[in-house]
């Protein structure tokens, strides 16, 4: 397309109005003498309204504007993993190289390194009929991930040439009969979902190693979850725990309008931590996008699309990808900020009327699919939400809850009591429980679902009993109910609480999760027996094996300890029963 030149008519913060160009919606334009990158977000007669991804200070009406005629794209190919990008896929190390420790404007940088050579092994053959999304060959991108080089989604034809070898991302690795040249890299517009063949049912869990999540409110691979909560309740710690321990092969972590130090923390920590699946450094499977709160808002708006496009790209290679966006509220606020500069009619709380539509389009890009090359891949999306004042009735939380299938409700009260993760087990839900039940039954334990449901019932019962306790004190409750309170307390303190900063506790495999639940329920059963033998609650809960269980979750050799603990628990309660029987005998005698 021919390049068009126009000029600036108005500048108001990140929003610039231009005349003299005839762009299509979402075309990328170069603004001003410095050629700042911007995107057309509204067209009004002869005026084009542009959101600019960089600071606009000093830019004047009359300066030139050039339409590139192309939408905002990302570069897809080997070299994405281990990278850290800003919201428009500029690598932060490159920006540092070019302009130092502070991000100045007017610098362009390619998403993928142009110099680096990759070892490409062709798997398709000359003469093969290929089409978009099919695999041409592989590149070992990192120790963890073998990158599949795909035919760009819109290409189609017969392979005229293709050869293994060492290439940069731009060199030609092969051609199609229509002359299309193939490279290790191709581009894709971020606002357009990448195509796949077919959506699959969400019947495999994304195992996160977080007990309350996997145990009570599991997320499916390809599913969607929201984690709303006030500041300090644990959104970021939970998102980071998911990024570390989820059994995804690729993780895309978007720091959207949040703290710079949090991204630095991920950058320093992830190369040191080991992926429990592959044993390689976690960074080897991770892409970071950092558009922090003080970086330009328009690029913040784009960061979410950039992230989900990268995620879809690895999905199309047949991988399970997990995407975290911390926080989607900051993304929504970026929309609001831009929208108010456009003087659009505001909807609820000043958010644009299209807020709900944008949120659902975003979450709609999650899913487990059959890819164009016939393999299975998934994108799971977990969005943090930051409701003002912690009030879930606000528009971003409400609109998100209408879309996502899993709701992990953070609770300020729990956080203040240092019950972490501060996820409220009474308000949270997962709509995947039913579809995932068979998987848990087949892969963890025959009675996983029953065990889970029983734990949930005890916790429910506790909350009902708590209401009575508030009024009359716990001594007034029947002994059976006092026991329920004690068992619920064990569930809360041993199963639900999980310390993200403890080397062992931070990650709990499903077998461990199951054993803890099962042991607590086992205690409950045996304790009931003791109770009917006349044992006082105080005696029952004083058995040492209970404390042993509480400590065992922090031990490296949990698997060997747990068997012993179960046995001890049995013997000790057996002892309590005998003692009570004797005493009872004495009394009757």
């Amino acid at each position: 397309m021919e390049r068009q030149l126009g000029q600036i008519y108005r500048v108001s913060g990140p929003v610039v109005t231009a005349v003299g160009i005839k762009p299509r919606m979402y075309d990328i334009v170069k603004v001003g003498h410095e050629g700042l990158m911007g995107e057309v977000i509204q067209i009004e007669r002869e005026k084009s309204i542009i959101q600019v991804y960089e600071d606009t200070s000093g830019i004047k009406p009359g300066e030139p504007v050039e339409n590139t005629g192309l939408p905002l794209v990302v570069e897809l190919g080997p070299g994405l993993l281990k990278s850290i990008y800003d919201g428009i896929q500029r690598p932060l190390p490159v920006l540092q190289d070019k302009m130092g420790d502070f991000i100045e404007r007017g610098v362009t940088a390619n998403g993928l390194d142009r110099e680096k050579k990759w070892e490409f092994t062709a798997t398709a053959k000359v003469g093969d009929a290929v089409s978009g999304g099919m695999v041409l060959g592989t590149v070992q991108e990192s120790a963890s991930v073998e990158h599949k080089i795909l035919v760009p989604p819109n290409a189609k034809g017969t392979l005229k040439a293709l050869s293994s070898g060492t290439y940069t991302v731009e060199e030609t690795i092969g051609t199609l009969d229509d002359g299309t040249e193939l490279q290790l890299m191709h581009k894709w517009p971020v606002r357009v979902p990448r195509p796949s063949k077919e959506k699959l049912l969400p019947d495999i869990p994304l195992v996160t190693g977080q007990r309350i999540l996997d145990g009570l409110f599991p997320l499916a691979k390809g599913g969607t979850a929201a984690i709303p909560g006030p500041f300090g309740s644990g959104k970021t710690v939970t998102q980071q725990a998911l990024a570390k321990w989820s059994d995804a092969q690729v993780v895309v972590y978007i720091g959207c309008g949040e703290r710079g130090n949090e991204m630095t923390e991920v950058l320093t920590e992830f190369p040191e931590l080991e992926d429990p699946q592959s044993g390689n450094p976690l960074m080897d499977r991770t892409v970071l996008i950092a558009n922090t709160s003080n970086m330009p808002v328009a690029a913040r708006e784009a960061s979410v699309y950039t992230g989900v496009t990268l995620a879809e790209y690895y999905r199309d290679q047949g991988y399970d990808v997990a995407l975290m966006a911390d926080s989607t509220s900051r993304w929504a606020e970026a929309m609001r900020e831009i929208s108010s500069r456009l003087e659009e009619m505001p909807g609820e709380e000043g958010y644009p009327a299209y807020l709900a539509a944008r949120l659902s389009e975003f979450y709609e890009r999650a899913g487990r699919v059959i890819t164009k090359s016939g393999s299975e891949g998934s994108v799971s999306v977990i969005g943090a939400v930051s409701p003002p004042g912690g009030d879930f009735s606000e528009p971003v939380t409400q609109n998100t809850l209408r879309i996502v299938k899993v709701f992990w409700a953070l609770d300020a009260k729990l956080a203040q009591r240092r019950h972490f993760p501060a996820i409220n087990w009474l308000n949270s839900y997962s709509l995947y429980n039913a579809s995932l039940a068979p998987w848990f039954r087949e892969n963890v334990a025959e009675d996983w679902n029953e065990v889970r449901n029983e734990c949930m019932e005890i916790l429910q019962k506790e909350s009902e009993l708590q209401e009575i306790v508030q009024l009359v004190g716990s001594d007034a409750l029947p002994r059976e109910e006092q026991l329920v309170l004690e068992v619920a307390r064990m569930l809360r303190e041993i199963f639900l609480q999980q310390n993200a900063f403890h080397d062992v506790d931070t990650y709990a495999p499903l077998s461990k999760q199951y054993q803890i639940m099962k042991t607590i329920l086992g205690f409950s059963e045996k304790a009931k027996e003791a109770m009917s033998a006349g044992a006082p609650v105080a005696k029952i809960i004083a058995i040492p094996a209970r404390d042993e269980l509480a400590k065992a979750r922090f031990e490296e050799d949990f698997d060997t300890l747990i068997g012993d603990i179960q046995k001890q628990m049995d013997t000790q309660l057996e002892g309590v029963i005998k003692e009570s029987r004797t005493q009872l005998g004495e009394v009757t005698a």
Partner: protein
């Protein structure tokens, strides 16, 4: 600069804004000077610019501006002259020396908006700062490069606490250079004098740069005061290698100025009338705290804000809390009890604490002591509530001990003198003394090894225990 063309084409004056027409192209964010008919001058900044109209926000307020006022666009954005000589000097909220001293001979002019630190260039903060205040050092440790606000409310002694911190803050075992940058935004003359007196009394002034925008100074100027302060701080930190503590007070006044400008521009307001971009705006201040890899200095922020109506969910503390790395919450209840500093550790949090404590930094038992104190105090306070309903008689012996612990905690641990400078060890020792009043089996947050090594009983220190 002075050769710029002067326009007399003001069409509208509204709140802090002036609308000018028929100009040559003017840059967004450009600095503006206005010459009033009485000969006085004001400065402003371009908020919106188009072929037809330029909107100017006037820092010193629009009082006295009429349609005859001359407007000049200077072709550059607002910059602060920076130099080491700023130390020991006092400036207005707009950056003019007001201490009778000479103008600063600048090493350089710096744009006051400041660019964002590249996240890749940041160094994770991890050096603990000892403030000498137990509730902060033991329970909410501050680290270099952190932004940790004080959430206070009117009538509470946040200024004393800020001053005490500014006086006592140190990183142990290092002879590095400290500086304080103090930015007052809309505080009263009396408050300002209180700060200045203290800086003079303690000799802190010679290592301080002070910007004063007082209650009777124009509200709009408050928008630039903290940016001037941060520009000075960044220069001292990243160019001169100093460890800079920036104290802002009061962020609430700053936010009200933002609201005022938003209203004058007829923007769609967000919650409680504050602009929808207030999060981004506050972030452009708070995120200027940090440590940069390979650079010796650091910028640590200690912003003070007063919560309107003591409400922590009000947009000002709320949006702040979403950006800052924790918060220190001042409690009216403790203040009423006559306890200074009335810091409530329960809603307080230092998100960077874990990176700054432990062996080799403070002490190996720090985390566990802190967690245990927190847990016991929380439980003790719950029990107070219970006692109010059912009476003390209904409590078990264990509970009575914990109830008493909560009182001791407030009296011995929270309470300290205005000039009492406690070391990390001092604070932890007081913590242990208090914990030693409790039966050992309630100390569930402390593992056996730590008990054996640090519990006063095991150190032959029973005599030191609280009677």
């Amino acid at each position: 600069m002075s050769s710029a063309k002067e326009y007399k084409t003001i069409t509208e004056v509204k709140g802090p804004l002036v609308f000018v027409e028929k100009t040559e192209p003017v840059g967004y964010g450009e600095l503006v000077t206005l010459r009033l008919p009485d000969g006085s001058a004001k400065r402003g900044q371009v908020l919106d610019t188009s072929d037809e109209t330029v909107v100017v926000q006037v820092f010193e307020g629009t009082t006295g501006i009429d349609r005859e006022t001359g407007v000049k666009f200077l072709g550059e954005t607002l910059k602060l002259p920076v130099s080491e000589d700023m130390l020991g000097r006092i400036f207005s909220g707009g950056g003019k020396p007001i201490d009778g001293g000479p103008e600063i001979v600048p090493d350089e002019y710096r744009d006051i908006l400041g660019a964002a630190i590249n996240p890749y260039s940041r160094q994770s903060p991890h050096d603990p700062i000892q403030t000498g205040i137990s509730t902060i050092d033991a329970n909410n440790t501050l680290v270099r490069g952190q932004k940790l606000p004080i959430f206070s409310a009117s009538g509470l002694p946040h200024n004393d606490i800020a001053l005490q911190i500014a006086r006592q803050a140190k990183v142990r075992g290092e002879g590095e250079e400290f500086a304080v940058v103090f930015a007052a935004m809309g505080i009263t003359n009396e408050e300002a004098r209180y700060f200045m007196k203290d800086f003079e009394r303690t000799g802190a002034l010679k290592n301080a740069v002070i910007f004063l925008n007082l209650a009777d100074d124009p509200a709009v100027e408050r928008i630039i005061t903290p940016r001037l302060a941060l520009t000075a701080a960044e220069y001292l930190a990243y160019d001169l290698g100093k460890h800079v503590l920036v104290v802002f007070t009061d962020v609430t006044n700053y936010c009200e100025a933002l609201r005022q400008i938003g209203a004058a521009r007829e923007e769609v307001p967000g919650r409680r009338g504050f602009p929808g971009y207030m999060y981004t705006d506050l972030a452009s201040l708070y995120e200027r705290a940090g440590v940069i890899k390979g650079k010796p200095g650091s910028v640590t922020q200690f912003p003070i804000l007063t919560m309107p109506g003591d409400d922590i969910t009000h947009p000002i503390p709320d949006l702040s809390g979403y950006i800052t790395e924790g918060q220190i919450v001042i409690s009216r209840e403790l203040h009423r009890k006559g306890i200074y500093p009335p810091i409530n550790v329960l809603p307080s949090l230092s998100r960077l604490m874990n990176a700054g404590i432990g062996k080799g930094k403070t002490r190996e038992d720090h985390k566990q002591v802190s967690d245990q104190l927190y847990a016991m105090y929380a439980e003790g306070r719950d029990l107070r509530g219970l006692v109010a309903i059912v009476g003390k008689g209904a409590l078990s012996e264990r509970d009575i001990k914990i109830l008493e612990f909560a009182d001791l905690f407030e009296e011995r641990f929270v309470r300290q003198g205005r000039d009492e400078d406690r070391g990390f060890e001092d604070s932890l020792e007081i913590g242990w003394e208090l914990l030693a009043t409790l039966p050992e089996n309630v100390l569930s947050r402390i593992d056996r090894k730590t008990m054996a090594k640090w519990h006063p009983k095991n150190r032959g220190k029973e005599e030191a225990m609280v009677q």
